[in-house]
């Protein structure tokens, strides 16, 4: 979680991180910032950037973040991006990890509100249902890509 994205005061229902967001430049931090502005629940996502890192460093950073927060869901930007490649390799030793590429704000929101909730706050995304949750979120998020005019 990037400093400054989450207000220091009481922001209502706080939850442990549910998923990792990783990508180029400030992509992940930007998405998480947007989710926080919209829902106040940016803390549901851990952001990782690949900027200035080797493939090995990216893999280490992602693996450490997944382990530190006991996460099993990762969202990345490009299908061929280095974060995607790192997670695909990591899946060899962490087969329970679910990866979705092409992430956008809508997808993160759909995911956030698909995770089983207790009293309105997301409480977890277990490996047993992570795949189904992510697939459902992806299907709903597809519909948010629209074109107007032209």
């Amino acid at each position: 979680m990037t400093d400054g994205l989450v207000p220091s005061g009481d922001s209502g229902d706080r939850c442990a991180p549910l998923a990792l967001v990783a990508g180029h430049g400030s992509f992940a931090q930007g998405l998480v910032s947007a989710v926080h502005q919209i829902t106040g629940r940016g803390e549901a996502f851990v952001a990782v950037s690949n900027s200035g890192q080797s493939a090995d460093d990216i893999a280490v950073a992602i693996g450490a973040a997944l382990d530190a927060h006991a996460l099993c869901v990762v969202f990345t930007d490009l299908p061929a991006g280095s974060c995607t490649m790192a997670v695909r390799r990591l899946q060899r030793t962490h087969p329970h990890v679910v990866l979705a590429t092409g992430a956008n704000v809508s997808l993160l929101l759909e995911f956030l509100f698909t995770v089983p909730s207790v009293d309105g706050a997301a409480r977890g995304c277990a490996p047993a249902n992570a795949g189904a949750i992510v697939r459902a979120a992806v299907e709903r998020a597809r519909g948010t890509l629209t074109v107007h005019g032209g």
Binding site: H24, G52, Q53, S54, A55, D57, I58, D77, L78, P79, A80, G81, S82, T84, M85, R88, R89, R92
Partner: protein, 163 residues
């Protein structure tokens, strides 16, 4: 010559290569030269999965390129060649005839390396290896994406490291 870029990039196939350079050069194929990847079906599947369906990826060991480089250079399609390390590129130049220009695209931080650009960190041995390539008549420059300036090796090694 239809191999338009000879790139050293420790991430091999990734966003900058597929989207940044691939779109800019209108590349239709990638030749990935890496002894380990060439021996691993799993790694090859991973890299193939990441590129658009109309972009072909070919995997070779360095030694195989002795026979193969001329064929790719004569290919009617537009392509780019990738290696992961300076050592691999040095070996490639040694066993082939036809690499005239090298793009240093991503050599990231590791113990013993000095930062030269945000995306280039070199050990003294790596810097010397690049200078040796240049002395063999191969132009070496650093450039991460097509829209930035190609920094000649001499400038890269003499200017103050930048962030």
């Amino acid at each position: 010559m239809s191999v338009l870029l000879y790139r050293i990039d420790d991430r091999l196939i990734h966003g900058q290569v597929v989207v940044g350079w691939g779109q800019s050069l209108n590349a239709q194929f990638i030749v990935l030269v890496d002894d380990d990847v060439a021996e691993s079906d799993w790694e090859q599947e991973l890299y193939r999965m990441g590129v658009p369906p109309d972009m072909h990826v070919y995997f070779h060991t360095v030694d195989e390129m002795t026979e193969q480089l001329a064929r790719y250079q004569a290919d009617a399609r537009r392509g780019l060649l990738l290696v992961g390390t300076i050592d691999t590129m040095s070996r490639l130049v040694a066993v082939t005839d036809g690499v005239r220009e090298i793009n240093l695209g991503g050599v990231h931080h590791a113990v013993g390396r000095v930062q030269r650009r945000q995306y280039v960190f070199l050990t003294p041995d790596e810097a010397a290896a690049l200078q040796a390539l240049q002395q063999q008549g191969v132009r070496v420059s650093a450039q991460d994406v097509p829209t930035t300036r190609a920094v000649p090796l001499d400038e890269l090694l003499t200017s103050r490291p930048t962030s």
